[in-house]
Amino acid sequence: MASVVSRRSQRLREAVLGYLLILPALAVFGVFVFYPFARNFKLALYQTPPFPGLPSHYVGLHQVGQVLTSSNFLQSLLTTIFFVVLVVPAGLLLGLFLAVAAHRHLRGIAVYRIIFSSTVVSSVAVAALVFGTLMNPVVGFLPWLGINPHPPILENTTWALPAIAVMAVWQFLGLSFIIMSAGLSSLPEEVLEAARVDGASSWTTFWRVTVPLLSPTLFFGVVVATIYAFQTFGQIDILIGSQNAAYEHVNVLIYNVYTTLQINGDPGRAAVLSIALFLLTLTLTLVQMRFLERRVSYAS
């Protein structure tokens, strides 16, 4: 009897300790992740009047519909998708290319590996300033190369977004290289050798063996790259800003959330946009999982 009681009390003690240990993290998540996430759904139902100082009032789903059908939102959505299309494939393919080139035991290869992964430490501000200078019409190297559109690249409605994308690809390249390299070195060496002995050329081996075996890594890379692209904010804020002529053409969703909240002071609208951004991320991740999973799970 005594032992039953003591075992029960021991269990209880273990459970209490468990809750105590997760409490600090849970408290932070509760206040700064779950609560604000949930509150977005409430904020979305309240409209902020155009004049400061007046209380916001309940409008229900009216505002949601209004925002989601506004040309501002649709343009923003298209811009975001266009940006993702510019960044994700380029960032991943270049990373894969460099990783394949560096996947060899050669003299000095460690130096190349550090160089290729180096952009992973560049912050958005650093990347923005580096590329801002390169694309500056006065300072720049582009005029020297004969590339000098009017208006200048970063104020040009056609070229501003691709320019930001180039910068994003450069900045993402380090991470992409690291991910692809790790994937390559986890491949079973002997299977690739078997392909060579079985008569496959390097080209065939790459496409028929390496790429299929690498698909879990590629899948991971696509998800990471997409999320990275969705979160590109600082470059736009630093290099273009809301006063720029090209602003409308680089106004990706996340930047839209920021300007709506901070510049226009409209938390209701910003909340709707946040939810849209979240749902878009979630959907894309789920779709990618479903779509790619079939190709990924070669083991069973």
Partner: protein, 365 residues
């Protein structure tokens, strides 16, 4: 089909000579076993034939052609890897077809040949499965199938049975021998398992530290080991090696004087060790030792191991070296710690120099 010739082949990894001055010819249609302890360079030698490692010195030839600078895919050899190295994303059928596809064999013929091979190996029910859904033995057979499906000039097998359980290993061993016999394809078979080597090889090449020690037919290797390494490596347990010196006795006989007693030599053996006081190593297999009151060597029983049909008696000699005596299970077993005398069968004695090479008997001429 072709012979494979290593001519003074060396392969280095940094300071390690993984393969050191290897010269060896594998005959057309022969099944040659490359045997040696782990790390002795067997895999490296095999991979140089496949073209997966660059040859540092010497030449490797397949057929009449030196292949040092030929790409693996142009060598027309098939390899069975220790890990099997199946394509995990392809079905069994596609795995079998892969080498044919690279050679541009039309689809229908590919499929026909894959099914044929699968039938031979009892893999037909699994053609639609992926390697992840197969047992170890089935995977092993797919790896074999992938090698035989394209009728290459040679098979290269790197410890293909080491991942199987004991019973399956014995079974598959026989299957591979039968298959090789039927196809008559030149085969190099790498293993560290001497039982596999003895039962499978037409000839066995023994390696140690990158160097070829001896190459001979299995029985010959066992009966006349070329040096003390081969003597000790083959057999389970291997040959007992006892240090001593030649003693040419006054009455004309020759003996080996060891710390545990004098072993008299007979006939041809005696002719080997003519040089008085010459240091030698005496080798004798466990089955050629007997516990017997009149035995030449003196020792103490350390351990008695019962193996069912046989018993192994491990004795310690005066110089703390150990010898193993094998006897039938029905013979009287000595007790632990008991002092015993051990008799040596004179005709079965091998003699080696101190550095291990065999002292050849002079044939009575």
């Amino acid at each position: 089909m072709a012979q494979i010739v290593f001519d003074q082949v060396t392969k280095r990894y940094g300071d390690v000579r993984a393969v050191d001055d290897l010269s060896l010819a594998v005959g057309d249609g022969e099944l040659l076993v490359l045997l040696g302890p782990s790390g002795c360079g067997k895999t490296t030698a095999l991979r140089m034939v496949a073209g997966l490692e660059v040859v540092d010195e010497g030449t490797v030839a397949i057929g009449d052609r030196v292949v040092n600078d030929v790409e693996p895919r142009d060598r027309d050899v098939a390899m069975v890897f220790q890990s099997y190295a199946l394509y995990p994303h392809l079905t069994v059928a596609k795995n079998l077809e892969f080498p044919l596809r690279q050679r541009g064999v039309p689809k229908e013929e590919r499929e026909r040949r894959a099914v044929d091979v699968a039938r031979t190996l009892g893999l037909e029910p699994f053609l639609g499965r992926k390697p992840g859904q197969l047992s170890g033995g089935q995977r092993q057979r797919v790896a074999l199938g992938r090698a035989i499906v394209r009728s290459p000039k040679a098979f290269l097998m790197d410890e293909p049975l080491s991942n199987l359980d004991a019973a399956l290993r014995v079974q598959t061993r026989a299957d591979i021998v039968a298959l090789q016999q039927r196809l008559g394809t030149t085969t190099i078979y790498v293993t560290h398992d001497q039982v596999e080597a003895m039962t499978m090889g037409h000839r066995i090449a023994v390696m140690d530290h990158g160097r070829l020690q001896q190459v001979a037919a299995p029985q010959e290797l066992y009966d006349r080991p070329g040096n003390s390494f081969v003597a000790a490596f083959l057999g389970s347990p291997g040959m007992n090696l006892i240090g001593g010196r030649v003693a040419v006795e006054a009455e004309g006989g020759t003996a080996i004087r060891t710390a545990a007693g004098d072993v008299l030599l007979q006939g041809a053996q005696a002719s080997v060790a003519s040089h008085h006081e010459q240091p030698v190593v005496l080798g004798v297999r466990p089955e050629h030792l007997r516990i017997s009151p009149g035995g030449a060597l003196e020792g103490t029983v350390l351990l008695v191991e019962l193996l069912g049909a046989e018993t192994q008696v491990i004795c310690e000699l005066a110089d703390h070296s150990r010898v193993v005596v094998r006897q039938q299970a029905d013979q009287a077993r000595p007790r632990l710690g008991e002092p015993v005398r051990i008799a040596v069968e004179p005709a079965a004695v091998h003699l080696f120099t101190e550095d291990g090479s065999r002292l050849e008997e002079k044939t009575a001429a």
